[in-house]
Symmetry: C2
Subunit: 481 residues, 2 copies
């Protein structure tokens, strides 16, 4: 992570200026220092021809600089940020944004959900897979595949739910550090004997907290300054946790100012269960709030069925939401209302929620976010509001980059191309169709007459990992094809 060569990136850079607008820089330059930080952005078209002058201004010698030039039609885009449930920990892990929600241990189950909904799916597919990852050889194989696969899709930051197993969770952190993916790694806490399987749960709240501290310590040992890997407190979700465990996690949160990830209001059966289990709290959101877990650093996955009161509470506390459209459609959970949450002041990012979601790709999550927002619109009768419900290509790309960065608390470090930010980026190349109608590898066919806005829409709707030519995290090249 240190001793990188200085780098200059040249060509077209596209990133979110706001949720509604993409910023296009053409024939521009971005200089990245040896710590992987953006030292300079030359936005003016024609900057490439002034490279020598730029280097001189920075006091950099051309001989010590690697230069990366995007080919015509290619562009640099911020890396995606999202949440992944690595396998499935105690009942189900949630995340959102930059893949702000991924269950790494569930990766082998992607696409496998049959006709189940949440609770059934957890019992049938998720817990058995997660529990089996205490076998470290298996965990290494699954986590390596998961990290490589998500990187190949341009995910530079992932918020991972691991499993309850300390050694396997630590291994996931090691693998992310080694391969070079920025990650939040959380050991899943689940100690409620009435809802968790007897062979896959923490024995006591005490054990839940101790084991959590062990994984925090491990991450601190391997990456003391959280340059790349950060521990994240991970109560699976309220139904799988005792009040004691949740309060204990909130204590750790305050003590160490750590991020928290959990699930909220994904499914109606789950909501009923929470109401029954925590009758003293007024709502699902209040359960977390009553236990001290609704913090500015909390990432709530799903949030499909939030009430007005809950949304107001989440906004007031500054907690964030990870929208997981692939998962919510697959498990028939519902259609989360992103515009509605934005209108209420909630920060939203994207999660793949593998394997509740079927895809390891944040671009797929962005695509499905656009489609799901149209299903939300179909249920709205007032025409103006129906129109507003729909998310544009620009907005869902924002969710996967800057939105996700805000959700995981890295809004000042990643998600855009500004001076002082770290170089977490992907080089995107779209396929060109030649004069004979022959295309290139990949599913995006550019005929040449498309505007840049149209190219972005084509990429959003038909792009895949083949369009991700290179991926950098903190200036380090971590994937190439």
């Amino acid at each position: 992570m240190t001793g990188l060569k200085k780098q200059v990136f040249a060509g077209t850079f596209i990133s979110s200026k706001s949720p509604q607008e993409l910023n296009y820089l053409h024939n521009a330059l971005i200089c990245v220092d040896g710590a992987g930080r953006i030292a300079r952005v030359d936005k003016e078209p024609g900057s490439v021809s002034k490279l020598e002058k730029t280097l001189k201004t920075l006091g950099w010698d051309a001989s010590e600089v690697d230069i990366h030039v995007a080919q015509p039609g290619q562009f640099f885009f911020p890396g995606f940020i999202g949440e992944f449930c690595c396998m499935i920990v105690r009942m189900r892990l949630l995340t959102i944004a930059l893949d702000s929600h991924v269950h790494a241990p569930q990766y082998p189950n992607v696409g496998i959900f049959g006709k189940t909904t949440l609770m059934e799916w957890l019992e049938k597919y998720t817990f058995p897979m997660e529990s089996s990852l205490k076998d470290l050889d298996k965990a290494r194989r699954v986590y390596t595949a998961c990290v490589r696969r998500t990187l190949s899709h341009g995910t530079t930051t992932a918020a991972y739910y691991a499993t309850i197993d300390v050694a396997a969770t630590n291994l996931l952190a090691d693998i992310c550090l080694d391969i070079g993916q920025r990650a939040f790694v959380g050991r899943v806490c689940m100690d409620n004997p009435t809802t968790c399987p007897s062979n896959y749960r923490d024995e006591t709240a005490q054990q839940s907290l101790e084991r959590t501290r062990e994984t925090i310590q491990h991450v601190r040992d391997i990456d003391p300054d959280s340059k790349l890997i950060c521990p994240i407190l991970t109560p699976r979700f309220a139904p799988s946790c005792s009040s004691e465990a949740m309060r204990g996690l909130a204590d750790i949160q305050r003590e160490m100012d750590l991020p928290v990830q959990t699930h909220i209001s994904e499914n109606e059966g789950e909501i009923a269960l929470v109401a029954k289990q925590f009758p003293e709290s007024g709502s699902y959101a209040e359960v977390y709030d009553d236990h001290g877990l609704l913090t500015r650093r909390t990432i709530l996955a799903h949030a499909v069925h939030l009430s007005e009161e809950e949304a107001a509470l989440v906004a007031r506390r500054g907690s964030k939401v990870s929208h997981c459209p692939c998962s919510n459609s697959s498990l028939t959970s519902g259609a989360a209302r992103v515009r509605w949450m934005w209108d209420r002041g909630i920060t939203v990012g994207l999660g793949t929620d593998m394997s509740g979601g079927y895809s390891p790709s944040v671009l797929e999550a962005a695509r499905q976010a656009a489609l799901v927002s149209r299903h939300v619109a179909m249920g709205v009768s007032a025409e103006a509001e129906r129109e507003r419900s729909k998310l544009t290509a620009e907005e869902v790309l924002y969710l996967g980059t800057r939105g996700g960065a805000e959700v995981v608390g890295l809004g000042d470090r990643v998600g855009g191309f500004e001076k002082g930010m770290e170089w977490d980026a992907q080089l995107i190349g779209l396929g060109q169709v030649d004069e004979d109608g022959m295309g290139e590898e990949g599913n995006v066919d550019v005929f040449g007459w498309e505007t840049w806005e149209e190219r972005m829409a084509k990429w959003l709707f038909n792009g895949d990992d083949r369009n991700v030519k290179k991926v950098w995290v903190r200036g380090r090249l971590v994937h190439e094809r």
Copy 2:
């Protein structure tokens, strides 16, 4: 198309036994004669070892036979059948099944729809693109890309909407025949001056019919027995056609027993327009019926908002429906109820409806059919009916193969692996993850412990053209990677 070598295919064969069930043949043999027809199916496991005996029974000499063996983990699957709107003809082309609905001229616009709905989208994106394809160089480039791309996704049969241009439509038929894709090619009829652009419409009903006959004649000339290419009557949709043109097309239909493709009940604004334009008909379906176009050979794309009465009429007439979930979500048209249509006795297939739909892949349409059925379920309050609304992996794969074959009237020729059917098939390979967690190219990662049913689900949800290793139409190898 003649003079093919005899072929034997060996390994695993998977195809739909019924909408609910896939049939798995392992270590089996299928023998295909020089006309591309299945001469024999040896279903018993172990058939491969009896190859010599099988050839002897058929009276085939081993020296005159090409043998194709699926590698372990690979399987043969029927080619997909779907509808494609090649570009966008007068207001919008609809199709369903096997890709039973594709607008070939719209292919360059995939993914580009912004926040528009149907009518706006037609004006803004579709008509200008379609109209420009009277430039035959451009048409050749676009259609070649479209046919190659759909074949690479395993689409062996496509029902294409071309444009109003005779020469460009004929060119599409030529390209399909040359490259070897089974296709229904329709010149789009649109002669209503109040709804069609002045620079992109048939001048009169008379001209609409004459030009249609010209393209029919061309297809008859190049493929007299419709071995591969079949003309299809293509009134864009009721709003863009005069009564005279529709009646004239119905006359041609009866005269030549040709298939018909059109759109129905996609969008509420469109439905209101139809009611206004045809006040003498009781419903959208009745408009087609009153003009003689609701035949057993008619493919109705979309059918999102059919009433009970319309569904009963469509079922009574034996007309078919092409479900286009990608398009319906993208354009916020609504969520079509496949189970509801099945319950009413309507035959349903899948359409990509490019570029209303963003993807050239019938597998993507099948995936979205599964997801959209879950959005249908979310709107159903009765639990049992909600559950029934959801489509399984088996059911959506049926829609894309046998369902599509029924929709285009080829149920006895393609869509399955029975003796006497033609060899329209794809060889599918999924990626294996090695012991170090390194996967292969493509997005389907098989760890080795998955059942065949789970592999099929993984393929459905993460598969793409990289998993399509070879594609045959009528025994001819038409795509390979």
